[in-house]
Amino acid sequence: MNITLVTILLLASITFMTRYLFLEEKLPLRLGPNISQLLSFSGPAVLTAIFIPILFFNNNEIDISVSNAYLWGGVGSIITAYKTKNIYWTIGFGGIVFIGVSSYF
């Protein structure tokens, strides 16, 4: 087997392990009600921590200026999501703002 193939399989084991580990029944771990309540916040917390850096960072540098189309598009998306609660409107309207601002600057 060549080295690339071995690396790919090792990487696959790593990602699978991180996904599967806590789903294993035999893992000696019981989550109390407090931990469960804490974990109920994981969805919004993780997704926010993923999208915020996309809006603010460009090539690893923070960009807080009026010419940052990601920020305008993000604001547009947040308002649309709040008003419509619809994923297609949110991506659509946010996308239009994003493209509009990027072509303006």
Binding site: I14, A49, I91
Partner: protein, 221 residues
């Protein structure tokens, strides 16, 4: 199953640019088409794939590559923990299948109180996760076929679609003060941690956000 796939559709479409980017990157960095496709078929994790294929192309030390993959993947521990109560009771077949498919996207559709609790809900998740898997692999294949004829896509702002999708999923969830606090704190800490180039910024920021949301909930009840 169909319902799961249709609910996943906007998310599957939002990662189209990423999948194509990854496929073309694999070819541009000198990997064969089989290797490129294999990344998506068995690793099935966008950020891990894009980062590691760059590192492999630069002949980075083996251990560094594996460590980076673990760091980027570490947020999945949180997903597993969150879904443990529901999914660990299911049969091995479901746990392995849905565990393999447990991406950010599938997790973001797992917030329902009854998720994974019934056969219907399990098939829903299979439809969502499975269709996302198919889409990711098709987008990768398109990128591989386009290969070198594609320009460098990284600077075209294609990642905005992913951000907008996650905004669409998070904002409607903010129905209580603790969740609002959780989201705001997570946002501010992710900015701070990323600004200082902290490797585990994502997981750290999410954890701080969760703790603050939980704290506020405790104080108020």
């Amino acid at each position: 199953m169909i319902k799961g796939a249709t609910d996943m559709l906007p998310l599957s479409l939002a990662v189209l640019p990423w999948g194509v980017l990854f496929g073309s990157l694999a070819i541009q960095r000198g990997f064969s088409w089989i290797e490129g496709q294999l990344f998506s078929a068995v690793i099935f994790a966008g950020a891990v794939q894009i980062v590691t294929i760059e590192l492999m192309a630069e002949n980075t030390r083996y251990i560094t590559i594996l460590f980076m993959a673990l760091v980027i993947s570490s947020r999945h521990f949180l997903y597993g923990l969150t879904l443990r109560e529901k999914l660990s009771k299911q049969s091995l077949k479901w746990r392995i299948g849905l565990g393999f498919l447990l991406t950010d996207e599938l997790f973001s559709l797992s917030g329902h109180r009854k998720s994974y609790a019934s056969k219907y809900r399990l098939y829903y998740a299979l439809g969502a996760g499975g269709s996302f898997y198919l889409a990711w692999n098709i987008w990768t294949a398109i990128g591989i076929i386009a290969g070198v004829s594609l320009p460098d896509l990284t600077n075209l702002g294609l990642d905005f679609a992913v951000a907008a999708t996650f905004i669409a999923l998070v904002i409607p969830e903010i129905r209580t003060v603790p969740v609002l606090v959780c989201v705001l704190v997570s946002a501010i800490s992710s900015l701070l941690f990323s600004f200082y180039g902290f490797e585990l910024s994502l997981v750290a920021a999410a954890s701080v956000g969760m703790l603050c949301g939980y704290g506020v909930q405790r104080v108020r009840s």
